[in-house]
Amino acid sequence: MPPRKTQQIAVFSVLVAVCLAIQILPRPLGVEFTSFLTFSTGIIFGSFLGASFGVAVMIINGFLSPWGLAGINLPFQMLGMGIIGAGGGLYKMTNGSNVRFFGETAVMGAFLTLIYYMITNMGFAINLMLFTQFSPLDAIIISQISGAFVTLMYIISNTILFGFGVVPLVSAIRKLYGGEK
């Protein structure tokens, strides 16, 4: 049996690779799996590694994404995904009933997705400030409003994904090696 630390590194690396592969593959508009995997990683490995996972995936994705370079949005994407990973660690698993737990992860999915998109929309606001003459406040309001529909689509898909996916995924990986004590 390999040492526990080695198992953790292996599982963490596999999760990073899976996340990047899914990120690059074509998928329907309004659906993404990165925040789901980042949040789950946060629950399993704790806040620090969860946040590191989110930041690392977004850095790599920022350069390799088929949509092109993330540009000025990259630091905002890293921050947003880092918060999702840290949020997973802070949340952790409790011994509550499964029904409540499923509901809680769904709410966490909606809340963290909203936070993520509000942060990344700030990147768009900076673009607006740089390339137009909008005041900072106007640029922030415009960027939040114009991104609202996309944010809504991701909130809906992540609420479902977090609600139904986090518990089975975390349980499966914890059975594999145990996770953070």
């Binding site: 508009l29 509550g96 966490m108 909606a110 390339f131 137009t132 939040q144 114009s146 609202a148 944010t151």
Partner: protein
């Protein structure tokens, strides 16, 4: 009936998300409605459309008539031979007047405002034209980001 503190916290969190996103989406639709109403309330509008073939050849269609509610794709089709494919993202222009997208060069559309040129925010078949707008098709190198603005 006593409500569990944890359940209460998550209910409040859920309601907060709902309130915030509902407000943002309401503002989005209010804005979109006002924008569309401003653009489409006239039956006839006039636009300026430029087509830059990337080899210093630029064709301008100045003060050209279009119907209120027409999209950029509708207007372009009336002025040039256009080949396009549609997807869930909207129409993708394959060629204008037989100048085909050839990687890394592609047809990108731009709009002019008081702030200068800005890249089209949506696909050309999703953009409803406004009166007196100046739009521009630019056959350009898309391997660099941000894309070069029209000359």
């Amino acid at each position: 009936m006593a409500v569990n503190k944890r359940t209460f916290t998550f209910t409040i969190l859920g309601l907060l998300v709902w309130a915030l996103i509902s407000s943002l989406v309401a503002a989005y639709y209010y804005n979109a409605y006002n924008d569309l109403f401003q653009k489409a309330h006239k039956s006839i509008i006039y636009i300026n459309l430029g087509i830059n073939y990337g080899n210093s050849t630029v064709q301008w269609f100045n003060y050209t008539e279009a119907r209120g509610g027409d999209t950029l794709l509708d207007a372009t089709i009336t002025m040039a031979e256009v080949n396009y494919t549609t997807s869930s993202f909207g129409a993708l222009i394959n060629s204008i007047n037989n100048v085909n997208n050839t990687s890394p060069n592609a047809w990108i559309w731009w709009m002019h405002s008081q702030f200068g040129w800005s890249e089209g925010p949506v696909a050309c078949d999703k953009y409803v034209l406004g009166d007196n707008e100046t739009l521009y098709w630019y056959y350009e190198d898309t391997s660099k980001w941000p894309y070069p603005t029209p000359p």
